[in-house]
Symmetry: C2
Subunit: 391 residues, 2 copies
């Protein structure tokens, strides 16, 4: 039951928190401003950031166009620029995709000699990385304060995650106001993503008979319930600062590593399965998780109902009466009902995937690992059955 914990990112949370950025820039000479499709130009944040950079007298270079499901090839291109320009701080302005890309660029730029995709497939510790700072514009992944990143290699149809403590962002500017212009669909995906990250940790293989594990599970239950409560309110009032603030806070708590203290190992099979879906079909991560998670639950509940049952009772308020399996199944049904209520997809078809190519997604799901998950360990035949159940 031991754990190590390190949350080194300096968090500045709240309206106007960008005022802290100038102080954070003082140790750097050359900044790369990394961003996505340009929404920050439409909502004025781009101008605000440029103003701070100029005000601080910083030399900077821009790299825009980071894709949702950030591409490996963009990471390669951006790191060439970093090296050529002598960048020593990557300032990621965006959501999880831009921030994930920034971390990968930061690591790759100090290790240009290695085959970086080989690193993703054969994870190992590398010393050193360019510093990363983040300005969050979409609440979802918690990437703004953790050291993980996920990249998509479209050519190989693989999507893999990796982590390195050297890419913990040095600072995170988290102003809920910056997320007000996020459209409904992305906001919904962000809500699902937040719930999914919390659920992955909820499905730790650790027993809740241990009092500290139980305490963590209770905390996760509370965070999920709060996220689920604010979801429809936010989707009905996208411009509401308080709802945006709540969601940003839960997303941050969901994957900042703090929960993971005691609950060291979550399940994460649903993430592996979702990464396969989005590697092949390039759908949004949150949308993929909405499809995958209930199907994963349908499958594992037969083998190991206990945590699903706990979820049913403590999160979805199913009456604790009858067989564990029946209670657990009712919990999954209510989870689907919630996802339907916020108009999240439940099947590949809902995301426009009419013919799920099982062989392709199976390749992607097992591109690196031979077993997925920890609550229940899933082999190829199990994951195949889960994909089949989605058809």
């Amino acid at each position: 039951m031991n754990f190590n914990l390190n949350l080194p990112t300096r968090v500045y949370f709240g309206q106007g928190s960008i005022k802290n950025m100038e102080g954070e820039l003082k140790d750097y000479r050359k900044v790369m401003l990394l961003y996505g499709g340009g929404s920050i130009k439409r909502n004025g944040l781009y101008d605000e950031v440029i103003e701070v950079l100029k005000g601080a007298g910083k030399d900077f270079v821009e790299f825009g166009g980071i894709e949702p499901n950030p591409r490996y090839r963009s990471v390669l291109a951006a790191s060439e620029v970093c090296v050529a320009e002598g960048v020593d701080l990557i300032l990621a302005v965006g959501g999880g995709s831009v921030i994930d890309a920034a971390k990968a660029v930061a690591l790759r730029s100090r290790h240009m000699e290695i085959d970086f995709w080989d690193l993703m497939r054969n994870p190992r510790y590398l010393e050193g990385a360019i510093s990363v700072g983040t300005i969050l514009t979409l609440a979802a992944t918690g990437s703004e304060t953790n050291c993980g990143f996920v990249l998509t290699n479209l050519k190989r149809e693989e999507k893999l995650g990796h982590g390195n403590p050297n890419v913990y962002p040095k600072f995170a500017i988290m102003d809920p106001g910056y997320t007000k212009s996020v459209p409904r669909s992305h906001t919904r995906n962000g809500i699902v993503d937040t719930i999914a990250h919390l659920l992955e940790q909820y499905f730790t293989p650790l027993s809740d008979q241990d009092v500290l594990t139980d305490l963590m599970l209770e905390r996760i239950e509370r965070l999920i319930k709060n996220t689920m409560a604010v979801g429809p309110k936010l989707l009905g009032d996208l411009n509401n600062y308080s709802y945006r603030e709540e969601h940003m806070y839960y997303a941050y708590m969901g994957l900042n590593g703090e929960i993971a203290g005691k609950v060291k190992r979550g399940d994460w099979a649903s993430h592996g399965i979702e990464h396969a879906l989005s590697a092949v079909y390039d759908i949004a991560h949150g949308a993929g998780l909405s499809i995958v998670f209930p199907h994963w639950m349908d499958y594992v509940v037969e083998r190991k109902p206990e945590r699903v049952k706990r979820m049913a009772v403590n999160i979805f308020e199913v009456e604790d009466k009858g067989s564990d399996l029946a209670i657990a199944r009712e919990g999954i049904e209510r989870f689907r009902k919630y996802l339907r209520r916020i108009e999240a997809p439940l099947t590949p078809r809902d995301e426009g995937i009419d013919q799920l190519d099982i062989d392709k997604v199976m390749h992607a799901a097992f591109a690196r690992d031979s077993v997925l998950g920890h609550y229940v360990k899933l082999e190829e035949k199990d994951v195949r059955a889960i994909f089949e159940s989605m058809k």
Copy 2:
């Protein structure tokens, strides 16, 4: 409702976590081993630490004898040694007193030119400090992972706290096994201290109508209830690893700054009042808090019952029926009952103070601040009334 958050200490929690220390030592040339009255020599930890230092090939110097309620004069003496010996890491092996002293020594050693007690009385930011690492031997204060410290100046009969982000410990070795030999009285004081730290943050002036504040208050309630539950079990079985582990975890969560994220400002008047008591009478901090906190509650409940009432209902399970004031008072009564149950002191007399010298403790309480507390702001006449009520 904005907040900044930074928890940079690398935490290694659990049995055998000292194995991580060698890696943490690699950047340092000269270590000061700082400890207290020598209990670490009796329980074998001293030998273990020396072995790691020698195994890592580190040059080191020892400074033992740090007092409970660490003395200003010890800080001055230890920093002379640090400067003379070129120490670049202070390794604090002990409880909150030794760790607090280490932080003060770390800061003072880089600022030998200033009057350090003047800094304590007129807090300001200072750049730079020697690095600090901690090996915790007593669960209580959370000092192992935060940047605060409290010093006692016996000559002036003052006890003041200060904080500086440069003295966040770089690492914390938190092995509950090391606390097994802590005697019953110190263990009990540690339990009271943990509860008191949580309560100080519980009595934030922020309204629980805000959903994120409410979430934090709920978390504090859970941590207090868990601490109160494990308290008597631990006191009845001091050698039990699981109970020691629970307490160490709650104490860490109680004051690592994480809770303080949203609940930025607690109350802390009881701490101010306790510091006055222990400045004059040199009693243990936990014992002082046990005396002060219920008396503080008796006083503030008349002016502002709401949070005391919430405490009564949510922590002490008082039935939510009748007037707020009556419910709140019943909560205070149950808190006293709990303290009595674990044989913690309730009056100065219980700690051997037969004649409380009100003028002396009043001087100490207002040595720096002219108002104490945030839930209710206490002026001199209020604090005098609280001291009078203890007689």
